[in-house]
C-alpha cells in the first residue's frame, strides 16, 4: 500500500524529446510553487546531473546548493526515478519521484508519480509494463479512498 500522487499529461513531442526537455531544460519550465518550496529560501535554479548516481540540484540565490535528490533510474526516453526531499525534512528522510515517458501515437504521455514511502523498484516498468502501473494506481487510490473515509469515521466516533 502506498500514498502516491499520480499526475500525467500528454505532450506533442517524442518520448526522447520530452525526456531531454524534462531533464536538460528543467530551469526553463520549472515554476516555483509558493506552497511547496524546496527550501525556505525558495527553489532557486534547478539542474539535473545526468545519469544514475547523478543528482537534482537547486542553486539558491545566495549561491548555496541544495541537493533535492539522487538519481536512481536514468533511461532517456523511458523513465527517470530519483529521491526527493525538501530542506525541512529530517536527515535521511525523503520521498520518491518517478517520471515515465510513453509514446501515444506521435505524442508522449508524461506521468509523474510521487510517493511518500516505498522504494522505487529498479526496473519494474520494463518487466511488468502497464499492468503494474495500473496496480500501483489502484493501490494509491485505495489509500486515498481510505484517507477520505477516515474523516467521516472519526467524526462518528467522536459523537
Amino acid at each position: 500500500m502506498t500514498a502516491a500522487v499520480i499526475v500525467s499529461i500528454r505532450v506533442d513531442a517524442t518520448p526522447l524529446q520530452a525526456f531531454e526537455a524534462f531533464t536538460e531544460q528543467i530551469d526553463q519550465w520549472w515554476r516555483p510553487n509558493p506552497l511547496f518550496a524546496l527550501t525556505p529560501r525558495g527553489d532557486g535554479q534547478l539542474r539535473f546531473e545526468p545519469g544514475e548516481g547523478g543528482r537534482l540540484v537547486a542553486t539558491l540565490a545566495n549561491g548555496k546548493e541544495f541537493e533535492v535528490g539522487r538519481i536512481i533510474v536514468w533511461k532517456p526516453g523511458e523513465r527517470l526515478a530519483l529521491t526527493w526531499r525538501q530542506a525541512t525534512f529530517a536527515p535521511g528522510q525523503s520521498t520518491q519521484l518517478e517520471v515515465r515517458f510513453e509514446a501515444v501515437g506521435d505524442q508522449t504521455r508524461v506521468t509523474v508519480e510521487h510517493r511518500g514511502w516505498d522504494k522505487i523498484p529498479q526496473d519494474h516498468v520494463a518487466r511488468h509494463g502497464f499492468e503494474l502501473m495500473l496496480f500501483q494506481r489502484r493501490q494509491a487510490e485505495h489509500w486515498r479512498g481510505l484517507l477520505a473515509s477516515f474523516d467521516g469515521r472519526l467524526r462518528r466516533h467522536g459523537e
Binding site: M1, I9, A37, F89, Q93, V112, F150
Partner: protein, 129 residues
Amino acid sequence: MGQGQRPHHEEATRLSTRIDKTFAALADPHRRHAVELLGERPRRAGELADALGLPAPAMSRHLRQLKQSGFVEETHPEFDARVRVYALKDGAMAELKRWLANTEAMWAAQLSSFKVHVEKKRKFDKKRK
C-alpha cells in the same frame, strides 16, 4: 525572487515540517496496516497483534511509535483501567492529506508549464527546418 514571497515560504515550511515524520511513521507496512484497522474502529493492542500476526512486544513497539508521531491515542474502557484501547487520533491524517493535495496541485502546474515549454520549442524547431 520578490520580497512578497517570504510569508509564503514560511507558511510552506510550517506546512511541511511534520510530513516527513508522517512518512517515517507510515513507512512500515505493519504500522500502516494498524492505522488502517484503527481507521475502522478503536481496538485493543492484542486484537491488533492478532490481526497483524505480530508478537505482543513488537506490536507495542509499533503502537508506541504511532503514539509518538501523533497517529493514535490510548484510552482505557471505564470497566477496566488495565485494558488499553487504541484509537486513531482526530486529524491524524490531516498532514498526509494536505501533502497529497499540495503535491498533486504542484505537479499538475509543473506539467502544464512543461507541456507549454516542450511544444513551444518543438514548433520553433519545426519552423527552422
